[in-house]
């Protein structure tokens, strides 16, 4: 019975509205007091029933909820025969709850969309090789599954046959399809756009990357900041306090009307719901854009950020070095290039790849007597010529005389942050190449944007040599940049920033060997597409390592923090307004109090909803 009444709350609100209208028409239109009174009494009784049930249930578990305040107020109104007020107040309370539910669902929609992307069924290979549709919970590690075009990939797995392209937006936030073939990894919750594949399940259910993301987001949207925990504790004592004040007022003034008005005005609605609403909408917006913000505490810290530290050169650069400059000396360059390519073709040195790509098509010759000189390079015989490929040290060892011009070129290239490759043929320097990492496209705009958002210092801590670091730093306009740093040096540096300079520090890293720094910084930002360590130790995860999302993440955190403050401000403002109203004005009564109270709840929810549409306004770079 109780459940039936509670489930029909919305219908009850509707009937009550009709009765109230009947009451007012007969009172004002037909001057028929009897009908009016009966209409108001019926409206009050039916609308008060669900509220009273909720109040009773709350009291059973020792919680003085808003329902308790409203129920007592309604009983009081009955006592002084003010049926009109009791009818309006109960109706507004129910109708308000209905609107709250509707709007709350909207603010939660972004995260709901995400959880609804969870796969539900799978085509599993059975004993005799045929595929049968089963619930995703019945899939175990090692099972073989068939995924057809348009279907969701049910688990994390490896493709064993077939090929196709997959939309991984649910994991990376990137809607560009990724092609998959035998041996590729696929992720649960992503969609096979075309093709048909068979996969073997590696991780299932909550262990999949998608499962972990959902769990994190769900925990995050309900995690509470210090302010929120304070508000929670506060509201636990607040409602009983309001009840007590109402009672005291009644004892001293013997004015039931005033006492019950205080009960209604004291409802803490907007204050309790304001912050969670901003939180859920902000985190939802992030989740849609490939940004995981782990809770409101993180949002608070992130929004007050002073310093952002980058973990390595590779976060800001492309990480695949290429030849930036070439200098030729003397004759026979074409042959020298051919010899160089022939030798580099056999090497797996990182610079070799850059050199080969740069040379492109050439004539390859057989290489003999290859000798690797540690910390220097390679010497070999090609086409009967003695060829040395390596650094300056190797050239000196080979007894090659460098001209003044060559020395000047070398100094210039080093100053520009290049690693050097020198090639000598038969004791004569022929080619000097500078190999350098390139800045990632768009990084410069990202950093400018971050500065505009209020980040004071941009710092890079890198394991690379200081020369390389300085070049990147100068090109990007970083505040400070340090080279030759080991992971523990980085952690020490972060500690110093926090303890000595009292800054709010974010550390951006891929989490592979920088977890101490990620954990130490106020905000650890993991650039990763699903590495477990990074997701777990960090506070913010940028899903597909796309640095361009950083400004959105920061802007969103700031907007969310601002939104929370606005909501707290609105809530407290409304309570103060109502209290002054009841003390200094004639027109304040229960109905107006309830109207303003429900109105303020809707206002904070609608305000929170704005965050779902938050977008960083700036022109994307070409």
């Amino acid at each position: 019975m109780q459940r039936f009444i509670l489930s029909k709350k919305n219908h009850i609100a509707l009937i009550s509205a009709i009765l109230i209208m009947t009451g007012f028409t007969s009172e004002l239109g037909f001057k028929n007091e009897t009908v009016a009174v009966w209409a108001f009494v019926t409206a009050s009784v039916i609308a008060a029933t669900p509220i009273a049930i909720q109040a009773f249930q709350a009291l059973k578990v020792k919680v003085v909820s808003i329902d308790v305040l409203v129920t007592i107020a309604v009983i009081g109104a009955f006592f002084i025969k003010n049926f009109e007020e009791s009818a309006v107040v109960t109706f507004l309370f129910l109708f308000g709850a209905f609107l709250e539910q509707r709007t709350l669902n909207k603010t939660r929609s972004a995260i709901k969309e995400l959880t609804e992307m969870a796969p539900e069924s799978a085509l599993k290979q059975m004993e005799y090789g045929e595929f049968e549709e089963v619930d995703v919970d019945e899939v175990d590690v090692g099972d073989i599954l068939l995924v057809k075009t348009g279907a969701k990939i049910p688990v994390d797995g490896t493709v064993i046959s077939g090929e196709g392209s997959v939309n991984e937006a649910s994991i990376t936030g990137e809607s560009l399809p990724v092609s998959k073939e035998k041996g590729s990894s696929v992720f649960a919750g992503t969609i096979l756009d075309n093709g048909t594949i068979q996969i073997v399940a590696d991780r299932v259910g909550e262990d999949t990357t998608f499962g972990k993301i959902i769990e994190l987001v769900e925990e995050a949207q309900d995690s509470k900041s210090k302010t929120e925990r304070f508000i929670d504790r506060f509201s636990k004592y607040y409602t009983p306090a309001v009840l007590l004040i109402g009672f005291i007022v009644w004892v001293f003034s013997r004015d039931v009307e005033l006492a019950i008005t205080i009960l209604v005005l004291g409802c803490p609605g907007a204050l309790v719901i304001g912050v969670p609403v901003s939180n859920v909408a902000g985190i939802g917006n992030g989740a849609r854009n490939g940004i995981l913000l782990k809770g409101s505490e993180v949002i608070g810290d992130f929004s007050r950020l002073d310093t952002m530290v980058f973990d390595k050169t590779g976060t800001l650069t492309l990480g695949n070095p290429s030849v930036s400059e070439k200098v030729y000396y003397g004759e026979g360059i074409q042959e020298a290039l051919g010899y160089l390519a022939s030798i580099e073709r056999e090497s797996d040195h990182p610079l070799a790849k850059a050199v080969l790509t740069d040379i492109g098509n050439t004539r390859f010759s057989p290489v003999e007597n290859t000798e690797v000189v540690k910390g220097g390079g390679i010497t070999a015989t090609v086409d009967g010529h003695r060829v040395a490929v390596g650094n300056v040290a190797l050239m000196e060892k080979e007894g090659i005389v460098l001209s003044e011009q060559a020395k000047a070129d070398i100094n210039r290239l080093v100053a520009n942050g290049n690693s050097l490759v020198l090639i000598s043929v038969d004791g004569e320097l022929k080619i000097l190449m500078g190999v350098r990492d390139q800045i990632r496209p768009g990084v410069k705009e990202v950093l400018t944007r971050l500065k505009k958002l209020g980040v004071k210092n941009l710092i890079m801590l890198s394991g690379d040599n200081q020369g390389t670091v300085d070049v990147v730093s100068r090109e990007l306009g970083l505040t400070e940049a340090y080279g030759n740093m080991l992971p523990e040096d980085k952690a020490d540096y972060i500690k110093k920033l926090i303890e000595e300079k009292k800054q709010i520090v974010a550390f951006v890293g891929d989490g592979v060997n920088d977890s101490p720094s990620l954990a130490l910084a106020h905000i650890g930002i993991a650039m990763g597409s699903g590495t477990d360590v990074a997701i777990e130790t960090s506070d913010v995860v940028i899903m597909n390592s796309d640095i361009k999302r950083l400004p959105h993440a920061l802007g969103l955190a700031k907007a969310t923090a601002r939104n929370m403050k606005q909501n707290i401000f609105i809530a407290i403002g409304v309570v103060l307004f109502l209290l002054t109203g009841v003390i200094f004005s004639e027109w304040m009564n229960m109905s107006i109090g309830m109207l303003v109270h429900e109105g303020s709840i809707l206002v904070v929810i609608l305000n929170g909803m704005r965050l779902l549409r938050y977008k960083l306004r700036w022109k994307p770079f070409k």
Binding site: Q57, A58, I66, I111, E218, Q221
Partner: protein, 75 residues
């Protein structure tokens, strides 16, 4: 000791969460500190002693308050 995750109908007011938390903590066999009601995702997470009560008992306590249980998972 088992871990239960109970999915409820959408919770609309933070005081609903308080009530459910209170009700779950009242049950004998539920680890009091483990009870967590996630307001936004409308979920209850808690640890309980499977020898003292079953997940159905917990569900019953919650439905008695007037909140519908949609799905529960025990690990």
């Amino acid at each position: 000791m088992k871990k239960a995750t109970i999915q409820l109908e959408t919770l609309a007011c933070p005081s609903c969460a308080l009530k459910i938390e209170g009700a779950a903590k009242f049950l004998d066999g539920v680890v009091k500190d483990s009870v967590k009601v996630l307001f936004n995702s409308s979920k209850v997470k808690l640890d309980f002693d499977e020898e003292k009560l079953s997940v159905e008992d917990i569900e019953k306590a919650i439905t008695a308050l007037g909140y519908e249980v949609i799905k529960s998972q025990v690990k």
